[in-house]
């Protein structure tokens, strides 16, 4: 009947491979194909530039509010890169790069933030859930998808993204607990970007790391440098492989930083200093990775410039297509679509009521 310490089986790791200057830890450097490394870079760059374009469109009033990804490209792209098409990706609202990587169309993203429900469509065969606005709520959907995967005896996984703020929600807790109990192939990727709108990470929870919350569920947790795409990818790949092999869920905390506004409705000057932001700009995930690729002889400024031009053209084309659609007259009656597989009588009555109203307005 003594008084002693309890041995806790699982432990929490920290992983970092590329430092802020792009120097690599040779011992930890993963062996990856050049093409793969370059595609990581391309997606990060595309994420960044599409984000900046959307920001301008919003400022010009051509689309509505959205949540910029800027600064989190490595966390988002690195983790998503560990997935295959048959896996499932469950996003919050700040994972545009990953969504595009997985086959969502740029113009759909633009339509969605332009106020068109049509933009919420996810193409057949693309296993991404649509944007989930209620913070943390989507974590449980990944658990259900993982449950289905396990039930069907597949070796796919479900990966869910959420922020540091989401870890305070009951849904987060319940999701990790269920995933632990059923040992489901679910990967929980927390993008700790240091802020939940105006609340700094330190005030979100008293725990030293978010990764250690895994200990509450008896599952592995790892904290990675979220601006280091190699570290994020390696951690995600390990978690995915473990999950495919029946090893259950993992919590990954990717430590990164939201370099832009929370959403385009937000004014960060109210709650954080420029110095804080600048310090993180020096840890930019893209620059760092470019240095690494340059050192490997895979990239140079010319090729970057060419790539940027190529990407900008893609974006320009998508913006044109989206604005074309948005310029056409909207059919308000579409609001009655997809409420149920078949609209019920009363819904049809209301639809006719609106149709009549619209006619009356015309005449």
């Amino acid at each position: 009947m003594p008084r002693d310490m309890i041995e806790i089986p699982s432990q929490v790791e920290h992983l970092s491979i590329l430092d802020a200057e792009g120097n690599v830890d040779a011992a930890l450097e993963p062996e990856l194909e050049d093409a793969f490394l370059l595609s990581l870079h391309r997606w990060m760059l595309l994420g960044r530039r599409f984000d900046e374009r959307m920001f301008n469109l919003q400022r010009q009033g051509r689309i509505g509010t959205f949540a910029p990804l800027k600064g989190q490209e490595a966390a988002n792209v690195g983790a998503t890169a560990a997935l295959r098409d048959s896996d499932w990706m469950v996003v919050a609202f700040r994972e545009t790069a990953g969504e595009l990587m997985r086959g969502r169309a740029m113009e759909d993203v633009l339509l969605y933030f332009g106020g068109y429900n049509e933009g919420g469509y996810v193409p057949e065969g693309v296993n991404n859930l649509p944007i989930a606005v209620p913070v943390g709520s989507q974590t449980l959907h990944a658990v259900g998808l993982a449950w289905g995967i396990q039930y069907r005896g597949k070796d796919d996984v479900a990966m869910v993204f959420f922020g540091d703020g989401a870890t305070s929600q009951g849904d987060f807790h319940e999701a990790l607990n269920f995933a632990g109990v059923y040992q489901l192939p679910a990967i929980f990727v927390c993008q700790n970007n240091h802020w939940a709108i105006s609340l700094p990470r330190a005030k979100q929870t008293a725990s030293k790391t978010l990764a250690q919350k895994a200990l509450a569920y008896g599952i592995p947790g790892i904290q990675v440098d979220g601006n280091d795409v190699l570290a994020v990818y390696v951690a995600a790949r390990e978690a995915v492989e473990r999950a495919r092999a029946g090893g259950g869920p993992t919590l990954i905390e990717a430590v990164t930083y939201r370099m832009s506004v929370h959403t385009t409705a937000d004014d960060p000057k109210r709650y954080r200093s420029d110095a804080d932001v600048e310090a993180w700009e020096r840890r930019d995930p893209i620059q760092r990775f470019q240095t690494y690729l340059k050192n490997k002889g895979l990239l140079d400024d010319e090729r970057i410039a060419a790539l940027e031009e190529e990407i900008d053209q893609e974006i320009r084309a998508a913006v044109e297509r989206a604005e074309q659609k948005m310029s056409e007259p909207v059919d308000p009656l579409v609001m009655f679509d997809h409420m149920y597989v078949e609209p019920h009588d009363h819904l049809l009555e209301q639809r006719e009521e609106l149709a009549a109203e619209l006619e009356a307005k015309e005449g």
């Binding site: 429900n117 989930a132 709520s137 449980l140 039930y151 149920y340």
Partner: protein, 326 residues
């Protein structure tokens, strides 16, 4: 045909659907080993194993949220809330996701989920075990809200709910779980969701109710026939939302006098919508104000006063007579 209680009939529906379709998964607190606190899921674990009769940790939000993911994956989860009074721990998942995923994804994903829960008063239970809050769900676009009134329709409606491609909230009036038996055919029987039925034909007065309140309502109708020579038509809604207003408005056109009966609180309750549909579609036929016989706007009292809270035949009868007297 065997005579069954509602619990047995629900169990039959679950067993037959699980037998037919391995996408059907029962999950919830104590639904497996224990067979459910009311035994509705009794035997499913033995027949279909832990993977299809799933005992979950204690978290309604997770039960609903996980079931949404399962449904999106292509399964047909039936999630039990141990009592409807605890569904609120999962209400955000129902309102924010279950009811909208088809809409949000423009039909790419759907949520063929049934959320089952023992509901309503009358069993001398503790606090939170007696509420009738179907109005919350009936007011939520994207959901269907079903409440059976007896073993046979409970079975046929649950089968329909499980096969429904959209989310269905299925509230089971626990006071009639074992209160009476009905013949329930062994063979498949399905009742269309969104259709009410005439439980008793009549021409003088229309009584509209559902769930456990059908019994006092029918009792009142019999008394009216015996004591007043009045033939009341009694309509059993079965589905609260989408609300079938065809049958009861037709009846109102015939009788001109209507009383709505439910045990939910009156204000902003289900009866209000029925009254409004009658005003919108049958106004010129109404010969008397539509009356609402309902639970009161108070928390359902603990069981010493539970029966006084609940509408009974006497209250229905008085309202009916007042309605007839104008």
């Amino acid at each position: 045909m065997t005579r069954m209680t509602m619990v047995q009939a629900l169990n039959l529906a679950l067993t037959q659907e699980m037998e037919k379709d391995d996408r059907v998964i029962m999950l919830g607190e104590d639904v497996g080993v224990d067979g459910g606190v009311f035994r509705v899921t009794d035997g499913l674990l033995e027949k279909y194993g832990e993977q299809r009769s799933v005992d979950t940790p204690l978290a309604e939000g997770a039960i609903v949220g996980m079931a949404i993911g399962m449904a999106i994956y292509g399964l047909r989860p039936v999630a039990e809330m141990q009592f409807s009074g605890f569904i609120y721990q999962g209400f955000h998942q129902i309102e924010q996701h279950a009811s909208r995923m088809r809409w949000r994804s423009r039909g790419r994903f759907s949520v063929p989920l049934v959320v089952r829960a023992p509901y309503a008063a009358g069993v001398r239970a503790l606090e939170h075990h007696s509420e009738s809050r179907e109005a919350y769900f009936a007011h939520t676009p994207g959901l269907k809200m079903v409440i059976p009134s007896g073993p046979r329709n409970a079975r046929a409606l649950l089968v329909a709910a499980i096969r429904d491609p959209d989310p269905v909230i299925f509230f089971e009036p626990k006071s009639i779980y074992r209160a009476f038996r009905e013949e329930v055919p062994e063979d498949e029987e399905v009742l269309e969701i969104g259709r009410s039925v005439i439980a008793r034909e009549g021409k003088d007065l229309t009584l509209i109710s559902y769930g456990a309140m059908m019994r006092p309502t029918l009792e009142a109708a019999e008394k009216l026939a015996e004591e007043d020579g009045v033939q009341a038509e009694v309509i059993d809604l079965l589905t609260i939302s989408p609300l079938d207003d065809t049958l009861f408005t037709e009846s109102a056109h015939k009788t001109g006098r209507v009383v709505v009966v439910h045990e939910a609180h009156r204000s902003f309750g289900p009866g209000a919508e029925i009254v409004s549909r009658l005003v919108e579609k049958s106004f010129w036929y109404l010969e008397a104000p539509v009356k609402r016989v309902t639970g009161f706007d108070v928390v359902v009292p603990l069981f010493a006063r539970e029966q006084a809270y609940l509408p009974d035949a006497h209250r229905v009868l008085r309202a009916a007579r007042e309605t007839l007297s104008v």
